[in-house]
Amino acid sequence: MDVHASLRGVTRIYPARAGRPPLHALGPLDLDLRRGEFLSVVGPSGCGKSTLLDVVAGLALPSAGTVTFEGQPVLGRVPEGIGVVFQEDASFPWLTVEDNVAFGLRRAGTDPAEVRRRVDYALGFMGLADFARAYPAQLSGGMRQRVCIARTLVLRPRLILLDEPFGALDQQTRLLMGDELLRLWRETGATVMLITHALDEANLLSDRIGVMSARPGVWIETVQTGWPRDRDSTLAARPNFGAVSARLWASIRGESIKALGQAREGAGR
């Protein structure tokens, strides 16, 4: 097995702050991301999914344990070759859509003609060609998220981390974007880790789905979907599709109830 990124015994504890006690958000957990696989992570709200992403990307140091990417330890700096689409809107409001998408390429000193080519392609791919000169403020939330996806993809990362990238999209667009993501994944051979709260989406897109417990998030189960590499959203019509979704729900249901309790406790404090 060709391991692309791996976590060993990783935990993340947010230090105490402003009278609040330290918060154990994640782990301990292990993870081996195989090169070229599509892994989804599902888990109840607040279980530490975004924290996991930060740690894998090198945006946050684990409180314990080690992270490696392509055989090298990840030590508080994002390694070259990793692309991240965040849960929050991260478009730059002072730049037009095309300048947003070109931002990383220009900073990396890419040849202008090549920037133009890749940006145009990405804008077309993401259905943003007509909005190249618009500012993010003129777009819907879902379109802004697509700008962020395009901005990440033009850099051709070998490992793509996506945190609820379709959260702001309607169900139909979500399905179509999922298909696009699959196509891209196949064409580029990149490794993808997708965080989502939509069980059907995880089911549809993934080779493997990691199910996380309520906080502090640890794996409760890893589900192999067994879908062919050449797949799209029509997969949902297969008879065993429902079985996978049902299995995911069965393993996450109890944890979701627990997480809801945590959230209520938090609110009552």
Binding site: D54, A57, L59, R77, V78, E80, I82, G83, V84, F86, E88, D89, A90, F92, P93, W94, F103, G104, R107, A108, Y135, A137, T152, L155
Partner: protein, 249 residues
């Protein structure tokens, strides 16, 4: 024009008209105040005659230097403090109380330190303006979403690139409060400094007219300074509105 703008204009016109009427009717002594039309005429004469060219050049260049030092210095210092939360907490009470200090009381000291000439004026204006910019920078940076910093990290930007290409533009609309204050304070610091102790500059010209009972020149110049500062502020306001509009959803 909006309704509010019309009301504003009407209020201004009424105030000026009222003052004009009161002066002309002899309700106000001419030794104290002169009609606005005469102020305008006096100001125009003083400015158009060319007698003040040297004074204006002095004042504007000193103000320009003070503004640049306040803005650049305030931003860099604000950025540095922002990145050190403990230092920031320690400095907070000082920054909060800063504008309670009578800065002009330090003017003699500044002259001792910087000599006569523009040095102490620049120092005074910067003392006055820089802290507004420091505070505005820190508040502005507070409002930059964390995810933009993370994005810069993922794109492996260098520290300086992150500052100039992400943090500064992201914070820019929030910095305007500081920019406006720093500019206004620079004018106040320089002109007031010239007024107290200087041999050149618009402030000195106002003081000179005052000492010579030349009400026309004095009020004329005050009006000139007022109009100048108001138009600078209006320009900044327009730029700020445009920035905000481009970004508001």
């Amino acid at each position: 024009m909006t309704k509010a703008a019309w009301i504003r204009l009407a209020l201004l016109a009424a105030a000026i008209g009222g003052l004009e009427g009161a002066c002309r009717a002899g309700w106000l002594p001419r030794t104290a105040i002169i009609p606005p039309t005469e102020m305008a005429a006096g100001g125009w004469r003083a400015v158009a005659s060319g007698e003040l060219n040297e004074d204006m050049a002095q004042t504007f260049s000193v103000v320009a230097i003070a503004i640049m030092v306040s803005l650049a210095g305030g931003f860099l210092v604000g950025f540095a403090i922002h990145g050190r939360p403990r230092l920031r907490r320690a400095l907070d009470p000082f920054l909060g109380a800063y504008y309670a200090i009578p800065h002009f009381a330090f003017y003699p000291l500044l002259i001792v330190l910087f000599g006569l000439g523009p040095g102490p004026l620049i120092a005074l204006a910067v003392m006055f303006g820089v802290v507004a910019m420091i505070v505005a920078t820190m508040n502005g940076l507070d409002r930059v979403p964390r995810v933009l910093g993370k994005t810069a990290q993922v794109m492996r930007l260098t520290g300086t690139d992150e500052l100039w290409r992400v943090r500064l533009p992201a914070a820019l609309p929030h910095l305007f409060a500081g920019v406006k204050l720093a500019i206004a304070y620079s004018f106040i610091g320089v002109i007031a400094g010239e007024f107290i102790l200087s041999t050149k500059g618009i402030g000195h010209a106002i003081a000179f007219a005052y000492d010579n009972f030349d009400a026309r020149s004095m009020y004329g110049l005050i009006l000139f300074v007022l109009l100048l500062v108001a138009s600078v502020n209006l320009t900044l306001h327009t730029v700020e509105q445009r920035l905000i509009q481009r970004r508001s959803r």
